[in-house]
Amino acid sequence: MGTADVEAVWRIESARIVAALTRFTGDFGLAEDAAQEAVAEALVSWPLASPANPAGWLMATARRRAIDAIRRRTALQDRYALLAADLAVDSAVDEEADPDKIDDDVLALMFVSCHPVLSPEARVALTLRVVGGLSSEEIARAFLVPVPTVQARITRGKKTIAAAGVPFELPPAAERRERLGGVLSVLYVIFTEGSTATSGDRLLRPDVAYEAIRLARTLAALQPDEPEVHGLLALCELTAARFPARTGPDGSPVLLDEQDRRRWDFSAIRRGLVALAKASTRGLGPYGLQAAIAATHASAPSVEATDWDRIVVLYEALGRVAPSPVVELNRAVAVAMASGPAQALTIVDELIASDRLPGSHLIPTVRGELLARLGRRPEARAELELAARLCANQRERSVLLRKAAALS
């Protein structure tokens, strides 16, 4: 067995092992360290001799490393605590057999990894590492940051969890919904990094988006009665369905109106629509509404034949439950399609007047498009050039400059 085989087993087992060890040691940081030691040992020993039961091997080794760590810690202190911990950790493997318990523990692990005491970067890194089973190197590659940065985020995150005394448990009922929202937003941040890379020379990184979708599927399986979990999953599936059409052969972005819809991934659309139906049981939340918008696009044969009135209504609803300048801007785009550019320009100018999206390339991008449609070419060109200056993604920037040049 090679490195890739060890990584494959770890992808499957990581969450269950760290969850079981955290449950029985009561120490998230210790559990994660012990699990990482087990993986490091597997990388050395499996290529020489493959274990008959790789998953069991990892669990048993991680358990031993956890016991070692507790022994070192308690060497000069309380021997009774050591005994108790030893027994508890010993039973961890047996307890693992109870599927309901391990489900709750994996869920608790997601809540701890996305805990509000952590910095947003630490939440992302811990979730991918602990729940997703990614290595620091893989996380670093996903977020285009150096490996030591990821390692520092994880180390600091674990210290923060310990210092804050975050308990390993499902949040109490009163906090549950809000904390779940926190988990969803971490998954969405990961997805967004893959679907619109904030930096770098590639527009899409489907492998990063895949991690978010996979985690969302896990969460949907563990929290089947939470509509917004299905809403997020639907949004991710429906957005990812367009990936094959979103870049040209040279990697340049292809906008919605120019996409070859035959390239959309229809099985992903179908999965997205199934998830959206599950999200719709009690009225849509912010993710469900965004998914409904994506679904409207997904079921339209062309831009012209899209139900833009419905999209305007959905953006209005989204603006009520989750007001944001970006939603407002998207509403303007939909209004332009449904009722013409003049009305849309009013919305955009109101946004500029309120200065709620300063420094973003999105406003001048949309304003430039609207002005171009109104035939105000010199103004349109100036807006698109401004947008290009503000845009951090090289691929998007070159599209903006091309459009600006076409207006002269």
């Binding site: 890739a4 085989d5 990584e7 494959a8 087993v9 992808r11 499957i12 790789p54 599927p99 489900d103 994996v106 489907p206 492998d207 895949y210 979708i213 996979r214 985690l215 969302a216 599927r217 896990t218 399986a221 563990l222 990936f243 094959p244 070859d260 035959r262 390239r263 959309w264 991934d265 099985s267 999965r271």
Partner: protein
């Protein structure tokens, strides 16, 4: 991301072994499927009926010829599948190793190319 199809190939012997303890087999399969759902990797899974109940449509001649019964002389017949959305080929293989398959059966692991890898109509 790569999708993989785990194709179950049973023999008469392995199918008989499976049917001998069908309740146990159903329970472990259900548990296995649940595990894949919770890992966020399962896209689809189906099991097929007895190959003897099948029909083969043969396009060797000018017009399709329909015959009853199993497909050709193949010893290992397609009996069901799992469609997985996994991080790597190794992960697909790791899941395949965990399938509660009856002794004597085989699992073929095949990659499903993404829609951006298949030549498009009209190009």
């Amino acid at each position: 991301m790569p999708k993989y199809l785990l194709i179950m190939r049973g023999t008469d012997e392995s199918n008989a072994a499976m049917m001998a303890d069908i309740d146990e087999m159903m329970a472990t399969t259900r548990q296995f499927i649940e595990g894949m759902v919770k890992a966020g990797v399962l896209l689809a899974a189906e099991g097929l009926d007895d190959p003897a109940q099948g029909v083969v449509v043969d396009f060797s001649g000018e017009a399709p010829v329909v015959t009853d019964g199993p497909y050709g002389e193949t010893k290992e017949l397609f009996g069901g599948f799992f469609l997985l959305d996994v991080a790597s080929k190794q992960e697909a293989v790791e899941w395949a190793k965990r399938v509660p398959a009856a002794p004597g059966s085989k699992i073929e692991v095949r990659r499903v190319p993404g829609s951006d890898e298949v030549p498009q109509v009209g190009e």
